[in-house]
């Protein structure tokens, strides 16, 4: 306990010292040009946008140097920004990590109940039915931390997340090999346990198609998306036929019969008519002889 407290105070002192250092550096900046040049590289910025005083200092430096003023100014500013970013990251990261780690740690205090359990477990000899000594059950780490769970608390950011690119690369499979298929089949065979009761048996049968689905749907398996007029008015399919003669008469009868047929789909009816079309076209020579 004493160790913790001292460490915490140390950190606090460190931080205050750094803040003081910052303030002093900022104040001394615009006074001398050369010292500023040294200190701009050492300075640690508090906020994200560059301190206006530092910017002033940079412009002063640029003006003093004999080379291209604007270029030097821009370069200096860029360097400042980069430095600022890195120092920010380091500072925040380091402090945060240690802080978080320490904050999560707390002194372990045994409750009297637990103490009693421990003592009793040591003393007693738990004997099984087969007269074998049982070890006291090792609770899982989750259940043992009765005060806190795994997901509660601030993130420590000790581990970095796996990049998403590698995940995607792993997921892409070129093509399922025979071994993969066999493995999948094996898994399916192993996981397909025999039904424990009549309900599961019926479920299995329904999936296989042996049993119908209840309540019974009269149109199960029938996927007729066509309207009634497509079934009945089939004259438009008779365009290629001669308009007079016995063939036309015959085809009109065919269409009359098809329109009254509820069992065929529209596609099947069209196929029917097309078959007749082909047949009569093949027999055209014969028909012309007659």
């Amino acid at each position: 306990m004493t160790v913790e407290v001292s460490y915490r105070t140390k950190l606090k002192q460190l931080k205050t010292r750094e803040i003081k250092k910052e303030a002093t550096n900022v104040l001394e900046g615009p006074d001398s040009e050369h010292t500023v040049l040294q200190r701009t590289t050492e300075d640690i910025q508090g906020g994200k946008p560059l301190n206006p005083e530092l910017v002033q200092a940079v412009s002063a430096v640029a003006s003093s140097l004999p080379l291209n003023k604007k270029q030097t100014e821009s370069e200096l500013l860029a360097q400042l920004r980069r430095h600022e970013e890195t120092t920010d990251k380091q500072k925040k990261g380091g402090l945060l990590k240690i802080r978080n780690v320490i904050s999560e740690m707390a002194v372990k205090r045994q409750s009297p109940a637990q103490r009693g359990v421990r003592i009793s477990s040591r003393i007693s000899l738990r004997v099984d039915e087969d007269d074998q000594r049982i070890k006291p059950e090792r609770l899982s780490p989750q259940s043992f931390d009765y005060r806190r769970s795994l997901k509660v608390g601030r993130r420590l950011n000790i581990f970095t997340k796996a990049s998403k690119e590698t995940e995607n690369a792993l997921k892409t499979v070129s093509s399922p090999t025979i071994w993969d298929l066999e493995f999948a089949k094996e898994i399916a065979a192993v996981t397909a346990q025999p039904p424990r009761n009549g309900f599961e048996e019926m479920i299995q049968w329904t999936k296989e198609g042996i049993l119908w689905e209840f309540p019974i749907d009269n149109e199960a398996g029938m996927e007729d998306d066509a309207e009634f007029h497509e079934h009945i008015f089939l004259e438009k399919h008779l365009k290629d036929f001669p308009k007079q003669g016995p063939i036309r008469h015959f085809m009109e009868l065919v269409i009359c019969g098809l329109s009254k047929n509820p069992y065929l789909s529209v596609k099947q009816k069209i196929e029917h008519i097309e078959w007749f079309q082909n047949y009569f076209e093949e027999k055209k020579e014969l028909l012309q002889e007659i």
Binding site: K185, A188, A189, A192, P194, P246, I247, H249, F250, L253, V254, H272, W275, F276, Y279, K283, L286, L287, E289, I290
Partner: protein, 129 residues
């Protein structure tokens, strides 16, 4: 039944069984060769059903010229013989018996009686009135 005796000498009529995850007992052979032939006839009849219907529609006509109908006659005769539905015989599913088969259960009278007496036919009871 006599046919079954001479069948033992030859191999049983098999059927290619596709690998399926079915765990129940599956009958993988037909009872005898006659049943197999019947199965082939049914398959062919299903394949040629549409064509036969259409050619017959041309034949059984009073409107179309007779020459056309004669040509249609020849065409239908050219189709494979097993494609006509008349050659299908409703045999018993379990014993392949050609006679005494009840259509509703597709079983011969002997097998039907056997199962009914063992109470394995749902809703079938001995008649008594």
């Amino acid at each position: 039944m006599e046919g079954a005796v001479c069948c033992w000498s030859r191999r049983l009529p098999g059927r290619p069984v596709l690998p399926s995850p079915c765990t129940r007992q599956v009958r993988s052979y037909y009872v005898d060769w006659r049943m197999l032939r019947d199965v082939k006839r049914r398959k062919l009849a299903y394949e040629y059903a549409d064509e036969r219907l259409r050619i017959n529609a041309i034949r059984k006509n009073t409107i179309l010229p007779k020459e056309l109908q004669e040509v249609a006659d020849k065409e239908i005769a050219d189709l494979p013989r097993d494609s006509c539905p008349v050659r299908i015989r409703n045999r018993c599913v379990l014993t392949s018996r050609p006679r005494g088969v009840k259509r509703r259960w597709r079983l011969s009278r002997i097998v039907f009686r056997h199962f009914a007496d063992h109470a394995q036919m749902s809703g079938v009871q001995r008649a008594m009135w």
